[in-house]
């Protein structure tokens, strides 16, 4: 199985402060990776280095065997969902307008998306179960619906990898479960590689194939259940962590894994 992402001795220093230190991490194609850690632990910085928006101070990062910067110019390599708080929820656009943004690159410079792009965008909305909302005002939709439309935008460009930064922000607990379930389905159906940043370690472990625990250093990378122990969580969040587990084996995790 070939690598989707490979980081070797990667460090990022911003304004003289270590934000990421000696990160060695690799992700195979088709795997759903969850990156968890406290606020300020470098999760978003790691995403930005993968996207080619930030160069590592030392070390290397490659995505599908190439530098992220060179991939930025390739059509549809990244499907990216930035933090929802950085997007104006009242932006004047319909759901279809938003999904069509995912086709801007394919449409080419100085051209508006055409009929084929429109079909792709509607198809992406349909995959996310929100096709009937295509003519609705983005501003009048719930947080969960807006998030599904944003993912439809990311999918409309036929990405090789889906990168999501805190995608569950603004969605209620029940909605979050549905949302993660949908992502899991997408991964299987489209054989997508998914990299998702989250602060919600409890829920994320249920859905991802691998988990990376990050707080400037990478404390753990591997099976999600292996992260749920006091040693890893204490390194990640500090000393005041109480680990409460209801069963030795999570039935739901096992069910999803099968």
């Amino acid at each position: 199985m070939s690598r989707a992402i490979k980081m070797e001795d990667l460090s990022v220093v911003i304004k003289g402060k270590d934000v990421l230190k000696n990160i060695n991490l690799s992700l195979d194609k088709g795997i759903f990776l969850g990156i968890v850690g406290p606020n300020g632990g470098g999760k978003t910085t790691l995403v930005r280095t993968v996207l080619g928006l930030l160069r590592p101070t030392t070390g290397t990062v490659s995505v599908f065997g190439r530098s992220p910067e060179s991939l930025l110019t390739e059509d549809g390599a990244f499907g990216y969902l930035p933090q929802q708080q950085n997007i104006d929820p009242n932006f004047p656009a319909t759901a279809l307008d938003i999904a069509l943004m995912g086709r801007y690159r394919s449409a080419g410079a100085l051209r508006w998306p055409g009929k084929k792009d429109r079909e792709k965008a509607v198809q992406a909305l349909s995959i996310m179960g929100v096709e009937e909302l295509k003519d609705s005002q983005y501003s009048q939709l719930s947080g969960g619906q807006q998030q599904r439309i944003s993912i439809a935008r990311a999918l409309a460009g036929d990405p090789k990898i889906l990168i999501l930064d805190e995608p569950s922000t603004g969605i209620d607990v029940v909605g979050q479960e549905d949302f993660y379930h949908l992502l899991k389905g997408l991964q299987k159906k489209m054989n997508l590689t998914i990299l998702m940043v989250s602060h919600d370690i409890g829920t994320v472990t249920t859905y991802v194939d691998e988990i990376a625990c990050l707080n400037i250093n990478l404390y753990y990378h591997g099976n999600p259940l292996g992260a749920l122990n006091e040693k890893v969580l204490t390194s990640l969040y500090g000393k005041n962590v109480d680990v409460l587990m209801h069963t030795d084996v999570c039935d739901k995790c096992e069910r999803l894994r099968k």
Binding site: L51, L53, L72, T73, F78, Y80, P82, N86, I87, D88, F91, P92, A93, T94, D97, I98, M101, Y104, R105, A107, A109, L110, R111, W112, P113, Q137, G157
Partner: protein, 266 residues
Amino acid sequence: MPEALASPFMQKALMAGVLVSLLTGLISTFIVLRKMSFVGAGISHAAFGGVAIGFYAGFNPLMAAVVYAVIVAIGIETTAKKGRISEDVSIGIFYSISMAIGIALVSLSQSYNIDLFGYLFGNILAITHDEIVLTLITSAVVIAIILFFLKELFLITYNEELARVSGIRVNFLNILFLVALSVSIVVSIRIVGIIMVSALLVVPGATARLFAKGLRSMIAISCAAGLISVVAGLFLSYQYDIAPGAGIVLTSAMIFFTSLFLKKKE
């Protein structure tokens, strides 16, 4: 009204007003969505320095103001980024320095004359044939550039990081937009003046924001609001003998507050 339309100065004023309202209506959409209204106010006040340099050095004041405003716009952006200070601090620095340069040069030239007041408060009724040609050319160029990059600007406005990931040259387009904004400000100065030009850059877009369902409808409503403000404002100023710039800005504000009231009633 027919009497007003018969006068050549009113015809010229209307022609220039229509061009500028379409130009600022388009720019205003992005100013409002990108929350850049203070940038507009800063550059317009900074343009006073450019006008004064033109007067002092014997150049065309508007041309000098265009060059100066573009330099200031790029200076604001660069200083904010390189100096790691917020954009509003950078605007505050550049705009007060530019005003100071303007006042110093006016004092040196000892010609605080009526022409300078025309730039400060606008005098659309005194607009010359050459100024109309300049307005026509610059408006056409700026509108063409914005429409050319509309989809890219739309994505940058939605989320700058996403635009970068989509392979859009965000830094280049941000600078291009600042240049377009500076040029729009300077060509609008003769219409409403340095002090009130930011109203044309903010109010039509704010009015359009209340009703728009998409970017293109927001641009259309913004241009229409700007056009009605300029035409109605001009006739009001003719009818009641008030300064045209003030007439235009007050009409624009009236349209905004009426729209806000109607929207709240819905």
